[in-house]
Subunit: 630 residues, 2 copies
Amino acid sequence: MSERREFRELTDPDVAHEIVDDLELDPAPERVSLTDARGRVLAERVDADLDVPGFDRASLDGYALRAKDTFGADEVDPARLDVIGVVHAGAEPDVELGEGEAVEISTGAVMPPGADAMVPVEQTDEERVDGQRTVLVRTAVAPGDNVMLAGADIAAGERALGPGTRLTAREIGLLSALGVNEVSVRGKPTVGIVSTGDELVRPGEPLNSDAGQIYDVNSYTIATAVEEAGGEPVLYPHAGDDYEEMERILIEAGEECDLVLSSGSTSASAVDVIYRVIEDRGELLLHGVAIKPGKPMLVGELPGGAYVGLPGYPVSAMMTFRVFVAPLVREAAGLPEPDSATLTGEMATEIRHDQGRRRLMPVGLVENAHGDRLVYPVDKGSGATTSLADADGLVTIGAETDYLAAGESVTVTLFSPDVRPPTLFGVGEDDPALSRLLDRLSNPRYLSIGTRQGLRRLREGVPDIVVTSGSASVDVEHEVLATWKREWGLIVPAGNPEGIEGIPDLVDRDLRLINRTTDSGLRTTLGEAVAELADERGTTRHELVESIDGFELAARAHESPARKVAAGAGDAGLGLRATATKLDLEFVPLGTETVRLLGNSDRMGKAGMSELRDALTAADSVLDGLAGYQ
Amino acid sequence: MSERREFRELTDPDVAHEIVDDLELDPAPERVSLTDARGRVLAERVDADLDVPGFDRASLDGYALRAKDTFGADEVDPARLDVIGVVHAGAEPDVELGEGEAVEISTGAVMPPGADAMVPVEQTDEERVDGQRTVLVRTAVAPGDNVMLAGADIAAGERALGPGTRLTAREIGLLSALGVNEVSVRGKPTVGIVSTGDELVRPGEPLNSDAGQIYDVNSYTIATAVEEAGGEPVLYPHAGDDYEEMERILIEAGEECDLVLSSGSTSASAVDVIYRVIEDRGELLLHGVAIKPGKPMLVGELPGGAYVGLPGYPVSAMMTFRVFVAPLVREAAGLPEPDSATLTGEMATEIRHDQGRRRLMPVGLVENAHGDRLVYPVDKGSGATTSLADADGLVTIGAETDYLAAGESVTVTLFSPDVRPPTLFGVGEDDPALSRLLDRLSNPRYLSIGTRQGLRRLREGVPDIVVTSGSASVDVEHEVLATWKREWGLIVPAGNPEGIEGIPDLVDRDLRLINRTTDSGLRTTLGEAVAELADERGTTRHELVESIDGFELAARAHESPARKVAAGAGDAGLGLRATATKLDLEFVPLGTETVRLLGNSDRMGKAGMSELRDALTAADSVLDGLAGYQ
């Protein structure tokens, strides 16, 4: 067994933050055209180079004139002026006004020489006699009235936008007013991402599961998170655990990028190889942080740029990036963290924590009927990639904190500023009709944790809805929002080669069943059917279960047993007629069971609940066309 | 004068919202690679197509074994198993376990056949005798311990992500785990932008101000706002007021885009031309809305797509887009408005409103020392492009509301979700040293409205700081944060061709002065110097002022008089030595005046104020290298 490196002295997390913050990413400013400038950050101040407007400008449609020619004019005794010409917007005046004269003028046109005010058309009448135009002005105006003087909006030499300004629509509008079509903006820090581990395969390429291959998750998660923080990710070819290859890739990435992140492998040997490259070729600043997760974090300098090694598990990598690295990238990009990137909520359940170490806890968010945000921990195990999508962010728990009470206020660091907490949070049984129902909601979250676990969560008061199947009794206040029936049975290969007709075949013959996990309501339903058969036969349920090969062999999702049967891993799988139809397998019906969609009584007033009710009462039912549903 | 169309029946704004919302933009879904998917919205549900992990996976480094071989094992009496092989991550096991056997295994590696559990290395010791490896297992494990079963994370057939899901880092992580490298996302609605008006010039092109040309602001503002709302802007060539040309461009844009916006012109004739094109070639759905601004808004259908005409003034166009059109674009893009796009605050001052019509009021935001957001109206006149940058968003005031009290709570619709309200809000005198100081702050807003207006705003309690010059007395509580002295005088052409030595030259000779506006503290200082001269001569200030040609000819910003002198528009301009130096002009000193940077006493605790104090006490002074400063 290779020597395994022990992390003896873990760095204090606050010190680790300082070390990371001190890394120098210094992207060079670049010039971009105005049409590419959105979201960028000005590298330097922009002063106005010209007056806006560049001329004295009529603010309305009407007549340009000399203010003193209107003194004393009113409705009863209008001033009468000769109209000696017209100025349209975008045209140079070709007349000069004298006493008693006026010029017709359009909004935005140049005030003709000699005019010092204008009167809007609504306060005038025009007479035309033998081609001679006369305007009757029914109001008196002062010099400057209805005229925007040159430079009145912004004058040449004025400070228009400061360095560090993030360019949104309004700033781009101001720049275009100044005639600026190119600006100097802060460069985006380039972040090289080196994924490590021999087992990783890029999405889209074929996967050999038998050889333990898995798709690379961290490279894509972190690349996206780099973009969200204002950086420019660069994906490097996959590095195995080989020293030479790792050295070559890390050095190359360090030379080409402002920051290099490695991520992907959970293998100690890959981490060891990186550690040695950094020690040999660069400088190691930190190895291991007293935070969970984050213990294996590495920080150093490569010849060309800074380096941070993230933990291998997806949720750990994401949280470590978010807490330690995203602020560094944002700082280099000149983009402060948006207010929307953190929010406060109250713990939905209590949390006990006896780490004696600071902890980053992935959490989900759910709103109650009053719009208060409740925070609940998400823990599917650190290897789970789905917990990335099941969590909205993280809560940092101090080393000295061993208990968070339900109702306690906590700050949630969202994974991305764009993360939208769900509009409706459901848990329980998985079901094809339910999936269709969820498709009709704007932003639901649903965790398929089975009937039993679902009901437990409802008792804790966290989810908005729970979906049960079978005859489970519900010992917590709830409202029944919908029920439907689904046909269940055994899914067998096309043509039913073993001629399976029901449970007795499984008990009496040498056939292999693929069952669901104990959390599944469908397994409970099967168990009840087995118990019934036991009654008929005058034996025990246990006895029969023992003689069904594979009764304990559990598969997680509603399609899993059928897929295993299709793959030849069993003779029959517990499942639904709809699944058999979808996967072109044969179905042996054993009965129908009821699926119940139950609402948390405290949440009936939520907007997401109204949307759910609308979806349930829509003209086209989610059951339409699903085999075996009613 | 051309016939001007009157808007006789204005549509109710709520009805206008319905008409706009009913426009059908239906961008076709597109397939994008995972690396381009950030921020996009899933067009359809993504179900898992494979189990994750795809195999039973060791969760830790250690030994794979049969659980029952460890029954009863503990520290005192460890189980002894033969180590018959090794499985690394990413490798296919080449051994099958029998009774009493173990296999060394890495985190993430495939569990070898025969093994049903694993023990972490920390709970073992290994002995090696003559090449024969034996592991001593100091704990008992149950089947499944430290193993992540195939599909435990997500199982084939499970619903992974629903339609309408916005893809952030976490969702992209989940997709990559599923091996998905391309997804079907909702198309971005294409929005054609047709700018109208003969007077508009694209930024970067030369401008003829004498001919009333101005830079096109709306096209760029609206294009950016379209992107911010999730659409794809397409800028069309400029259309003049010619019917044929307008028709051709509108029809082309309608065929190529989901939505066409026209914007840019404030001229009634351009609007008339568009109106006729829509009537002749498409369908006019709405003309004029009972909202200020928005009266000239047009809504219709072109042969190929929907059409909305925005008002011509930049702030009006922006507000109308934000309130009426952005929701339509967002809806088509599948992107709900982020929570950060609206916020609440309380009115900093009272507002009287006697429109009898709904009104969109541009507003700025400032935080007080307690972190409460104060909202103040921004009104530089509807033609001003700078008010775009001086405002953070808008407040909608109902037609029935004629008064908003100071302290009243209002909802602010931000121009963009990314708009960051300023960290410090200042008003008052403009000054080169102040501009440098502002450059050192993270996100200040400063309005150059002169000393007098600045002090008025301070009395109203709105700004954080005010900058005064000259001897203005301050009759409101404040703290003096900094003072500096600047040399002022007359700026004359290089070589001082008229040999100007001081104010007497202006009074006694036929010379033309370019003064500052009455709001400027510098003008007050000049006025005081003239009054002193009047005393010496035993005459009145008024008398002397009358004999200075151009004393009333005001220019807005501190560089404006100097620039006008440089352009030959005057013989001397009121200004600062620093400006003369910067613009390579000659300077005739008349005195020094004091610039005072005053803090609003109620705001001294703000974070922005600390940043200001840090900038003021920085080692390198903002005065360094500025001519005439001390």
